[in-house]
């Protein structure tokens, strides 16, 4: 069954796959996680704030992003971001945005909705006594959030946040639909150029599996450790 397979094609394309493809994937994952958590926390705070308008806007945004397939959102932002840039900066023409920047914007905004739900659960899981005590001590809303509530919420939800990051890592493979060269895209290009679909896709599957497996294992260990501290 494996007789006429050419595993040499993997060896020859390793540099391209990892230096171009994997760096794109990992950079996108880390930056989008970072941006997504920040924006997500902001959204969560908006939803939990007392202002009805803010709460509704944040709620609508999260519901919208969670109802749409990621593929559709990727298409939207790829064609739309330059026009948004033009509108935001008042420029005379659409701002030129490359593939990476467009993907980054897409994933940050999309995953922020999911991160915001996680952070919202985290913030709500903090006992009422905490912000009450902070208020009694004279801290403002901003200070309460920054020094009391968010650090605890973040630590409580850390395993879930990391799991969502692993999901993000896997979701980045979807930029394939626009022929953007992430790890899977790179493997695919080599596969089609050399006609070696089986070898390249099996290899790509193995790499994704290995990374995700190791990462989830790490998250499980982390979860076990954190459970003791609580």
């Amino acid at each position: 069954m494996f007789a006429n397979f050419d595993f040499d094609v993997i060896r020859r394309s390793l540099t391209y796959l990892f230096f171009d493809g994997m760096t794109f994937t990992l950079t996108l994952t880390s930056l989008a996680t970072f941006g997504g958590i920040i924006f997500g926390t902001l959204l969560a705070m908006m939803r939990l704030s007392g202002f009805w308008l803010l709460s509704r806007i944040a709620g609508l945004y999260v519901d919208l992003m969670r109802s749409l397939p990621l593929v559709l959102v990727i298409f939207w932002f790829y064609f739309l971001v330059p026009y948004i840039g033009q509108w935001l900066t008042g420029a005379s023409r659409p701002i030129r945005v490359g593939a990476f920047a467009s993907s980054l914007v897409t994933f940050t905004l999309f995953e922020a909705a999911y991160f915001s739900e996680i952070m919202r659960a985290g913030i709500q899981s903090i006992s009422r006594g905490q912000p009450a005590a902070a208020q009694a001590l004279g801290l403002t809303y901003g200070q309460t959030m920054r020094y009391v509530v968010l650090p605890q919420a973040f630590r409580n939800m850390l395993p879930v946040l990391l799991t969502q990051t692993i999901v993000l890592f896997q979701d980045t493979s979807l930029v394939y639909v626009l022929s953007i060269p992430d790890f899977l895209g790179a493997a695919s290009k080599v596969a089609q150029r050399d006609g070696r679909l089986v070898e390249m896709y099996l290899f790509a599957a193995l790499v994704y599996f290995a990374i995700s497996c190791v990462a989830s294992f790490g998250v499980r260990r982390l979860q076990a450790r954190l459970a003791f501290v609580r």
Binding site: V177, L178, S179, P181, Q192, R193, L197
Partner: protein, 315 residues
């Protein structure tokens, strides 16, 4: 009209800076008044963005080092030289962006690329959204299949699975023929030309419908070139390829048109054609051996950006 005088300022350094700034302002004013659209964008950013294809051999494709090369790429680089001369720039950075058949037009419209250098057919439908410069090739839509399938005419494709690339005129012509002639073909859309051909290679589709020059390149570069045959039946007349630019941008189009006209009419144009169609090309050293057709020869002698296939027949 331009006030190039400086305010009252006694400090020499400030005066010199002021002079320099005013001079630059005057110059910018003078040119900005005449520049608009893409030329203005290039002058302001110092960068020109070229869209290239992954696998449109030999027009625009990736070599072994994943760098874009090809007949259309070389033509575009000549246009870039012309732009550089026109704007009197010392340095003009060229950035390459990958595009596919379905993303090329939206990416041109939203400013991600300034020139699309590949195998794009110039037709009246597209002219509503974009503009084309002088034609660089003529090709008709045909299908390729394995000799063993014994498919000769379009009617033979009845009820079969046929692949084509999304966003191309080819898939559109296939769809229309399928509906008009009631062929019941199962159309499999692929993302890129290489994928369409791969469908035939792996027996997932019995035929792939693409421009005949691209089919010839794929067959020649495949593991077993003799196993394939390109149909004589065509879905369309030979249609022109052009390099795409944005619509309503006459200054940029003029630069592109002048550059391509000069290139095609010169001996360099003929040499460029031979380089990609009559000699060995990277990465595998294939020689496509496609001598310049009569109509293309006329189109090079008198370059035109007409989208009408009949125009080239009557030239």
């Amino acid at each position: 009209m331009f006030n190039c005088s400086i305010g009252e300022n006694s400090m020499k350094r400030l005066r010199m800076t002021g002079l320099a700034l005013a001079a630059a302002f005057c110059a910018a004013q003078a040119d900005a008044e005449e520049l608009s659209g893409t030329l203005r964008k290039i002058r302001e950013t110092g960068v020109i963005n070229i869209g290239y294809r992954d696998s449109s051999i030999p027009f625009s494709y990736l070599d072994d080092n994943q760098k874009p090369i090809g007949f259309a790429i070389d033509i575009c680089l000549k246009i870039v030289d012309a732009v550089k001369k026109e704007l009197k720039l010392d340095k003009l950075t060229v950035e390459f962006n990958p595009v596919t058949s379905s993303t090329r037009i939206p990416l041109l419209a939203n400013g991600t690329i300034d020139l699309e250098c590949g195998s794009t057919t110039n037709n009246p439908d597209r002219l509503k959204q974009v503009a084309f410069t002088n034609t660089h090739f003529l090709t008709a839509t045909r299908f390729i299949s394995k000799k063993s399938s014994k498919l000769n005419s379009i009617e033979d494709l009845k009820g079969k699975s046929v692949a084509s690339t999304s966003g191309t005129t080819n898939i559109r012509q296939l769809t229309e023929a399928n509906a008009a002639r009631n062929l019941g073909i199962n159309i499999i859309p692929a993302k890129e030309h290489a994928e369409s051909f791969l469908m035939v290679e792996t027996d997932r589709a019995v035929a792939a419908v693409l421009d005949d020059i691209l089919l010839a390149s794929f067959a020649a570069g495949s593991k077993d070139p003799d196993a394939y045959v390109i149909s004589t039946d065509a879905f369309s007349k030979p249609e022109p390829y052009g390099i795409m630019l944005r619509k309503d941008d006459p200054t940029f189009k003029k630069v592109a048109d002048d550059a391509t006209l000069a290139l095609y009419q010169s001996a360099e144009g003929q040499k460029l054609y031979d380089k990609w169609f009559m000699q060995k090309i990277p990465p595998k050293g294939l020689n496509l051996n496609v001598p310049i057709g009569a109509e293309l020869k006329k189109a090079f002698a008198k370059p035109t950006d007409s989208p009408d296939p009949d125009f080239y027949k009557s030239m």
